[in-house]
Amino acid sequence: MIEYLILATILGLLFLGIHRKVIARVQGRPGPPIWQEILHTLKFSFKKTWIPKTGSELLFTGIVLVAIGIWTAALFVVLAGQSILLLFGIYMVHKMVEHGVGLSPGSPYSKFGGVRSVISASSEIPLFGAVAMIYFFTGSLMISDLIAFQAANGPLLLIVPPAALGLYVVILSKMPYGPFSIVQGKEIVSGYKTEHFGVWRAALDVGEGLKTFVLLFAFVVIFFGQLPILLTFIIMLIVLVSLSFVCATTPLLSPYDCVTVQILIIVFMLVFGVVLGVLL
């Protein structure tokens, strides 16, 4: 199982590199090589590292461990075919990670990132809508049951497209350089990660790679079912490239606009759910 963990970390970082490359190409720039995020992680792990004087030592260190731990657990949740609710819970803990990483060093830039992470909690509303719709149509939240359901009835993507849209928005809100990436906006340097440099940043990047892989992998398993591994990776790549196009062509929204857009999406999902509920 350790091979899955290493593969997921490397592929996740590679996906983030592809994400940057696609954004650059869409914007008419050459962009970095696709393995740039892997190099970044290695580069940071060779930098001299210490804890800022103003930082809370326990929180500053502990939150980095939590950042990797939760997405390690999330990977095993998906691999074991466990409940989507566990993924939902892990996603909530990730909010605490953003908040904790932002508040622990005592820098105003990282603090702003942490505070914005609270505002961006509205991205959980589409996630909640997606989970509710999946349960409404399949009668289960276990990933193994969803795989069996799709083997008999076809991909959930075609049965409940608004749920797929909801999860897509959730993943979009976690992608760097996206319209909802207010926690890492450039006007606050690197957002909540500003003061986590050197080995701290390398470890956070490992968590980021795992998170990217797990979210894309979960999206494919939940809405396409169990496919051959190569096909799964290809669909993950297609979803990623579509996300990169959205990120490349949309500006960073203000925190309040983020909330508005995400609430509009949940309203659309609710209307769709009610209409289908009445029709069925």
């Binding site: 001299k48 461990l65 731990g69 050197g198 470890a203």
Partner: protein, 67 residues
């Protein structure tokens, strides 16, 4: 934290990761047990290996807090 302590934590967490993998393959532990062990041990292994390589032991710095 002393470099020797950091190294000890890195080595111990690596041993737990290896033990979880071996126990799963040998059928001694089920997937859930191995996953829990791996989830606990993998983060300190990543972080403390890096710290063992490069953590500074000198004077700490104050972050930039604006003009």
């Amino acid at each position: 934290m002393k470099k020797s302590t950091v190294k000890l934590i890195a080595v111990l967490s690596l041993l737990v990761c290896i033990a979880a993998e071996v126990m799963l393959r040998a059928g001694i532990a089920d997937f859930l047990t191995a996953a829990v062990l791996m989830t606990i041990a993998f983060p300190p292994f990543v972080l403390f290996t890096g710290l063992w390589w490069k953590a500074g032991e000198g004077e700490r710095d104050i972050p930039f807090i604006g003009y």
